[in-house]
Symmetry: C2
Subunit: 234 residues, 2 copies
Amino acid sequence: MKQISRFSHFGELSDKDYFRIALSVDCVIFGFEEGELKVLVIKCNIKEYKGMWSLLGDLVRPDEDINSASYRILKERTGLDDVYLEQVHTFGKVNRHPAGRVITTAYFSLVNIKDHQLKLSDNELHWHPVKEIGDMAFDHKNILDTCIERLREKVEDHPVVFNLLPKKFSLRELQSVYEAVLNCELDRRNFRKKFFMMDWLVDLNELEEDVPHRPGKLYKFNAAKFAKKAKKIS
Amino acid sequence: MKQISRFSHFGELSDKDYFRIALSVDCVIFGFEEGELKVLVIKCNIKEYKGMWSLLGDLVRPDEDINSASYRILKERTGLDDVYLEQVHTFGKVNRHPAGRVITTAYFSLVNIKDHQLKLSDNELHWHPVKEIGDMAFDHKNILDTCIERLREKVEDHPVVFNLLPKKFSLRELQSVYEAVLNCELDRRNFRKKFFMMDWLVDLNELEEDVPHRPGKLYKFNAAKFAKKAKKIS
DNA sequence: CCAAAAGTGTTTTCGTTACACCCATGC
DNA sequence: GCATGGGTGTAACGAAAACACTTTTGG
């Protein structure tokens, strides 16, 4: 690493004092299951927060972009590498981590739970309903809340919830994801109207199977149409 | 600093390798002058970007919150400590800084240019029109663009532009700030209607002075009213 | 009296909300 | 045939956009 003496504008600290901070990335990985929004958490094993839930994170390596670090964590934990991921906020309180000065950048991610197998055996990885999560280790509850809020803002005008669903889905499933994310009930007729107007969906001319009632049509998300539309606005 | 060995889940790196990253804060300080949105920049003096404009930033100290670091920078550069400041994004590309691995968290701030005196003499601090800024040092143009975009989203439903104006202002000035920030023209009648409806303003029963035309009424921002309203919604 | 900006209302348009009935399928 | 959710249309409302003339002051 090169000299960095030009940083120390204010004199009191030597350069190496500035390199006493570690940077981590924490991923809030959202999934959708049984009509609920869930988040992937793991039992914390450091003594100060023993047994509490914590987010999935790791230190950023010296030769690694922070964005790459967040993809790495996702890949390591879920096996997925083609996922939606968005940086949300950086948390930098001095004492947020008992092991030292660690600043963390939070990302949220949206995955389809059924797309992958967790390595549930070798650690206590767990999909936890967002509504029922209480205290968490470190400042992770705060991070989670910040990410949920950001997710809610995001889904209002960006087609991201599709990442929580399988490739083919019914309108009922789609609405149910929105209701879980926004924590509210939506009018079925208005919901359908809105989505057809948006032109984000492609009718697959297929029907649901194995449902104990009239099967609904299946759709997929039309990324191409959305890209065209987004362009138009700007 | 305590032991941090519990971080190294993946074995290849020793703990001290993780503390090879420095963290900085960069402030995009916006002001409003002569009908234009301006940003406070300084001539860069590191050799790779000699003479180019850069944002105001500094390394975060080991015992300093990142939010405190951003307030410190503002205070040092503008003398102001009661300002609007908001974290925007963290930029973490490996080679973004030629002097080493430096990850930076960007903040934007809104100040009233006339509220303070820059120390313009002892360095090349400068209010630059946002529209006319070209290349900048490091990835600072990218950071600036990201912050402008965030600012535009923010002003759409939060009363933050008041921070760019003096305590007392006319509706014409207020509209002019919005037009500068959003880079568009607004209809005067609809603009007035909207603001009176919002109930963010207090009529001071005073008039502009020294204007070569009919003087407009002066208003101030009513923070109390806004707080009450924001509460109501939630 | 002329220039320049302040101040003021109404109409139209469009997107959002609210709301109720028939239809297709599984059992 | 009945239970369950699928599928559809319309009216009311409210927010935003478009738009022009009169008033006040300084010079």
